[in-house]
């Protein structure tokens, strides 16, 4: 088994080189277009993902699932082709499709702007200015694609084994050079690399099975495989699906056992009105990213949590991983879906930004869903699922209909009530930054206390003789003075040193 992945930019000649190389080596040649064709036949809406790049739109919850399905499908497809024997693949991100497989030869093909402009003018029949626009826009879309799909930059040269410019080589010579490089021992299959491809295939195939099945296609899963053991991680709100996972994967070939686990870190964010463009949102996402946590939203419908008698009720639930797909949309409709019935969608203002915020979280891979609830404090407490391992509860702006003083008091009481009744830290959104994120204030504190610590250390180590003489002074008066000075001095040093350490750890995101 040998795999050569050629990552090509817009009209750089990578396709021609890949085909020539495959011909020279006698390997099958697989292109991204082939993968897309297969993915569309699988029922994945690749075009929607692509157009999200072109139109600069965020990913809806539905697209997040399409992305998971697409990534798993393309990986499984490529692994299956690779396991059959040799393969040359060319596309945008060939170098990212088989992570952890050592013997893959990863090549990037580049060309200068003039070469590409001429190629665009010739291939697409465009005038020069339009060709320039085309090349620049497609480059940007591709950059966006790689970042959105894989979270890396396609311009990071460390991801490639070789970078080839077809201005310096003819296609024939470049293919001949790559043919020789492909024979090097570094790019030959080893039992470890074969096992890595087997594991990738199994994990990806399991994710595809989950996406295909009616019981599980609406949920988000992280799936990996190691030595035939498949591990499926699901979000807390999908706990009800855990029992369905083994039966769904039953017909998958090549696995030894299946493990299912719930994601272990979650933040519950309670608020009345959400705004995915707000600073509070950014802070919550930053903390969640730092902890690898998913964020669950619980919107308090206005007027909630004030009385004691109102029964608890869930008014509306948006699952960050459940798209609003009607069953009929799984039947073939030529790509034309049914309109949403009038009044079927609530506006931003009506749902307090809940749906949009869940979608933005989903786009960033941090959503654990959201719901809108109403009821007294006691009932709201009952609606918090105690089986979910929350790492923290964040309480934002609540009781907005009250005056500012009453709002502050009620919010403080609400936080205290939650803290008393659930075994999880409860913090306000405005405290989040100070407690968990490194800001300007932390920077000044770090610099200030670091200066204090350095001055103390400098003075102590440059005046050791005087200090020892002071500490070993004669007479009880001097001994008492020395003891008092040490008693006062040590906590000051400890506090300063502790503050520096704490701020530094916060800076490097270790707590």
């Amino acid at each position: 088994m040998q795999v050569i992945c050629i990552s090509r930019g817009t009209l750089t000649g990578g396709k021609v080189l890949a085909e020539r190389l495959a011909g020279a080596l006698g390997y099958p040649c697989l292109s991204r277009e082939d993968l897309i064709e297969a993915a569309v036949k699988e029922g994945i809406h690749v075009g929607k993902i692509e157009m999200a790049m072109v139109k600069g739109r965020g990913f809806s919850d539905r697209l997040v699932l399409e992305r998971e399905h697409y990534l798993a499908f393309t990986r499984a497809y490529l692994c299956e082709q690779a396991l059959k024997g040799q393969l040359v693949y060319h596309g945008r991100t060939g170098h990212l499709l088989l992570p952890g497989v050592d013997n893959v030869l990863r090549v990037r093909v580049v060309a200068d702007q003039e070469y590409r402009l001429k190629a665009a003018m010739q291939a697409l029949g465009l005038e020069r200015e339009k060709a320039r626009r085309y090349v620049e826009e497609v480059d940007e879309d591709r950059r966006q694609w790689v970042h959105t799909m894989y979270g890396v930059s396609c311009d990071d040269v460390s991801q490639y084994d070789l970078i080839v410019s077809l201005q310096q080589f003819s296609v024939e010579n470049a293919a001949a050079g790559l043919t020789a490089i492909a024979q090097l021992p570094d790019f030959q299959m080893t039992p470890a690399s074969r096992q890595a491809v087997e594991d990738l295939r199994l994990g990806a195939k399991a994710r595809v099975f989950l996406a295909r099945d009616d019981r599980t296609y609406r949920a988000s899963f992280k799936v990996s495989a190691s030595d035939g053991v498949i591990t499926v991680t699901y979000l807390p709100q999908d706990a009800g699906l855990a029992e369905s996972i083994p039966p769904v994967l039953e017909s998958l070939e090549g696995y030894r056992s299946i493990r299912t686990t719930m994601a272990t870190s979650n933040i519950l964010w309670i608020q009345e009105v959400y705004d995915p463009t707000s600073e509070a949102f950014r802070n919550v996402v930053e903390v969640a990213t730092k902890w690898g946590a998913a964020v669950e939203l619980m919107r308090l419908a206005p007027g909630s949590a004030e009385g004691a008698a109102a029964p608890g009720e869930v008014l509306e639930a948006f699952d960050g991983t459940i798209p609003q797909i009607q069953p009929s949309s799984r039947e073939y409709n030529g790509g034309i879906e049914d309109d949403v019935a009038e009044g079927g969608q609530r506006t931003w203002a009506e749902n307090g930004g809940l749906k949009q915020t869940v979608e933005e979280l989903a786009r960033q891979g941090r959503s654990a869903g959201g719901r809108e609830v109403r009821g007294s404090q006691t009932h709201l407490l009952e609606m918090i699922d105690r089986s979910v391992p929350y790492t923290m509860v964040v309480v934002g702006d609540v009781f907005l209909s009250k005056g500012s003083a009453a709002q502050l008091r009620l919010a403080r009481e609400f936080r205290s009530y939650l803290a008393d009744n659930i075994k999880t830290p409860v913090v306000a959104t405005d405290e989040l930054k100070a407690q968990f994120l490194f800001g300007k204030r932390d920077l000044f504190r770090l610099i200030g206390y670091l200066a204090v610590v350095l001055v103390i250390y400098f003075l102590v180590f440059t005046h050791q003789r005087q200090i020892l003489s002071f500490l070993s002074g004669e007479g009880w008066v001097m001994k008492v003075v020395a003891a008092v000075v040490v008693f006062l001095f040590v906590p000051i040093v400890a506090y300063s040193y502790g503050t520096v350490s704490r701020s530094f750890l916060k800076l490097i995101k270790i707590e």
Binding site: T10, I36, E37, V40, H45, V46, G47, K48, E50, M51, M53, V54, L124, L126, K130, R133, Y134, E137, V138, D141, R142, W145, S329, Y332, N333, G334, G335, I336, E337, D338, D339, V340
Partner: protein, 133 residues
Amino acid sequence: MNGSLQIMLVDDEPIVGKRLKPALAKYGLEVEVFEDGPGALRRLREKEFDIVVTDVRMEDVDGMQVLEYVLANSKRTKVIIITGYATVEVAREALVKGAFDFIAKPFKPDDLRAVIDRAAKALGHPGIRKSDD
């Protein structure tokens, strides 16, 4: 410009026309559906449409050829591309060549109506709204 908008819909899958035609007609649009590129080109030689909605992948004559024909023969007609095989390369090619917009399948008729509404306004038409039943 206040008359009914003349729409040409070209898609080789009959179900697309079957689902979209009534959804557009409901908004007072006059829609002619074609299931092949050559038939659409023949009709374009006879009549100037306000808006052409065309799939990209079709046998004989594809959506890009329809786009190029329209742009070469009618300055005012707006072309909207629809496709289930959208890639950024195809979308950018269509937009650079002069397509009004590009919609990836699957979509809802509402999505297409919104683009048609924008195209209509760009033509000086007041826009589209639901006809009284």
